[in-house]
């Protein structure tokens, strides 16, 4: 039997209007849950991207002792350049290091004032062809006169991401729980809508309405609630203050300004469409759960 679309649409609209309060509640819960879930996924995505980018950009730092002679320094630079694993070597003088330091701690003048340019070591910044070869370089340079310390800054990045990983996993599971809660709430609103109309449904079934005929307006109602909830969540994410707040919860690297953790609008659009689809899925699931008990007559 053909189910008339205009009938179904009209019924859903009437239902939503009649149960405005609970409908708004359901929409908000879907919105909030998708906002939380979506932010968790967005952070995950942005973090993975940042991790890739940063890891590919950071270098091995070879810090030099204060008493290194110009000859030793030239020799070291030549040796580094000659190594097959090395892609590029740049020298950073004490003055350059100090400049970078000043830029980094621009908002903490006390630290800058208490540090003399001399206190910062000069270094070679070594970019490896394959970042995994750090061990080889370290073994070769360790203990060499004039070398103070060799540090793989990739490691720093990794530790940084590891520190925020638990937090990200937690927020992801939170989102799953709220997702389930939203589904249950939609089921409840649908159930209430059905309850307030059970007489009507009883008559519908008595005069020979099929189950789908009864079901579809309610399902449509659930889908509309989920859809609006999804749009609400995306709209919240698109607010500039929310986006910058979200970006600020990501891992931040203190030593470089070029590595700013960012959730971009592109990310939000990408995950937003997914969130809206998820909202509609919540609506369908919720209404199916809500309807299950009422239709076996």
């Amino acid at each position: 039997m053909a189910i008339k679309i205009d009938y179904a649409l009209q019924e859903s609209a009437t239902n939503i209007r009649r149960n405005m309060f609970i409908t708004v509640a359901a929409i908000l819960v879907v919105g909030v849950s998708l906002f939380l879930g979506g932010s968790a996924l967005l952070l995950q995505h942005a973090t993975a991207r940042a991790s890739d980018q940063w890891t590919s950009q950071v270098e091995v730092a070879v810090f030099l002792t204060n008493d290194i002679s110009p000859d030793e320094r030239t020799q070291l630079q030549n040796d580094l350049t000659a190594m097959p694993e090395v892609a590029r070597v740049t020298y950073e003088s004490k003055a350059q290091a100090y400049e970078r330091f000043k830029r980094l701690f621009a908002n903490q003048p006390d630290i800058v004032n208490n540090t003399s340019p001399d206190a910062l070591p000069e270094s070679f910044r070594v970019k490896l062809k394959d970042p995994h070869n750090f061990g080889v370089i370290r073994d070769r340079l360790d203990g060499r006169p004039g070398v103070y310390q060799i540090r793989d800054e990739r490691q720093t990045v990794h530790e940084l991401f590891k520190a925020t990983e638990t937090q990200r996993k937690m927020s992801f599971w939170n989102a799953i729980i709220v997702f389930i809660a939203a589904t249950i709430l939609i089921a409840t609103t649908i159930r209430m809508a059905i309850f307030s109309r059970r007489k009507e449904i009883g008559i519908m079934k008595l005069v020979g309405a099929t189950n789908w005929f009864v079901r579809i307006p309610f399902m449509l109602e659930g889908v509309v609630q989920g859809l609006i909830g999804g749009v609400v969540a995306v709209c919240i994410l698109l607010l500039p203050p929310v986006r910058s707040l979200l970006s600020s919860t990501g891992p931040q690297l203190a030593f470089s300004q070029s590595f700013r953790f960012q959730v971009t609008y592109g990310d939000i659009i990408l995950y937003g469409s997914f969130m809206i689809a998820a909202g509609m899925l919540i609506g369908v699931l919720g209404s199916l759960f809500g309807l299950r008990r009422f239709l076996d007559v």
Binding site: K4, I203, V207, A209, T210, F213, V297
Partner: protein
């Protein structure tokens, strides 16, 4: 196997394979040894066999708890018998697949004691609802609803809400709704239970009119006066057993010839 009743055997049987259909053409409602036991060993119907022929008007009488309502529920497939078979409009309802139940119910109109009208829909909408639900087009609805409202004598009440009508008028609306898609069977469960005697007679005249148009009517009732006045077939149930099945009967044993 139950024997064919005389009226059925008069019909030509076109082919062996469709025998059941032919028999059902004569037997609108036929139950064969149905027993219904509810949970907790409550026996609602015990070994009940009833034949109702197309075009008949049948009263189902008996005290509360005698199994009248259970019988109605089984016919509508709101419930299934514990054992036995029940054929309604040619279909074995006891074994009917769930998805076929809507099609069955489109052949059966229902009228209840409490009218079961939707309070927020007008008279017209209440009747139209029964057609909308089964996917009838707007044009047909616009034609058929006024027609049936005219038939039940409420042609001028179409735009009113149910609570603006008297009880008798509301019951007419519910009869209009039950009859609007011309079902083969009309089932009425205490349709005059909430109405005064004068109004009840009006309702019975209407049901009689519908019956004369070819619809088989099965009416469960407590109303002695009506049963005695109508002089139609009476099936009496007591504690789930058929204790009387009488052509042109009256309500009580006392009046039996």
């Amino acid at each position: 196997m139950p024997t064919l009743s005389p009226s059925a055997s008069l019909l030509p049987i076109p082919g062996g394979a469709v025998q059941i259909g032919v028999r059902a053409g004569a037997h609108m409602i036929r139950s064969v040894n149905i027993t219904k036991i509810y949970r907790g060993n409550v026996v609602a119907l015990r070994d009940v066999s009833i034949d109702i022929i197309k075009g008949e008007f049948v009263f189902l009488v008996g005290p509360s708890g005698s199994g009248k309502s259970t019988m109605m529920r089984l016919i509508l497939r709101e419930d299934q018998p514990t054992s036995g078979e029940i054929y309604v409009a040619g279909k074995n309802v006891a074994q009917l697949a769930t998805w076929k139940v809507p099609a069955l119910r489109r052949n059966i109109g229902c009228v209840f004691q409490d009218f079961k009208l939707l309070p927020n829909k007008t008279v017209f909408e209440n009747v139209a609802f029964a057609l909308e639900v089964i996917g009838v087009s707007r044009g047909v609805i616009r034609r058929q609803v006024p027609e049936v409202l005219e038939l039940v004598g409420l042609g001028d009440k179409a735009p009113h809400l149910p609570d603006e009508l008297s009880g008798g008028e509301q019951q007419r609306v519910s009869i209009a709704r039950a009859f609007v898609n011309r079902p083969q069977i009309l089932i009425a469960d205490e349709p005059t239970g909430n109405l005064d005697p004068t109004t009840s007679i009006e309702i019975m005249k209407l049901l009689d009119l519908i019956n004369r148009r070819g619809t088989t009517v099965l009416m469960a009732t407590h109303d002695h006066a009506i049963v005695d006045a109508m002089r139609r077939r009476v099936i009496e149930l007591d504690k789930g057993i058929v204790v009387r099945d009488q052509e042109r009967g009256v309500y009580g044993y006392g009046a039996q010839v």
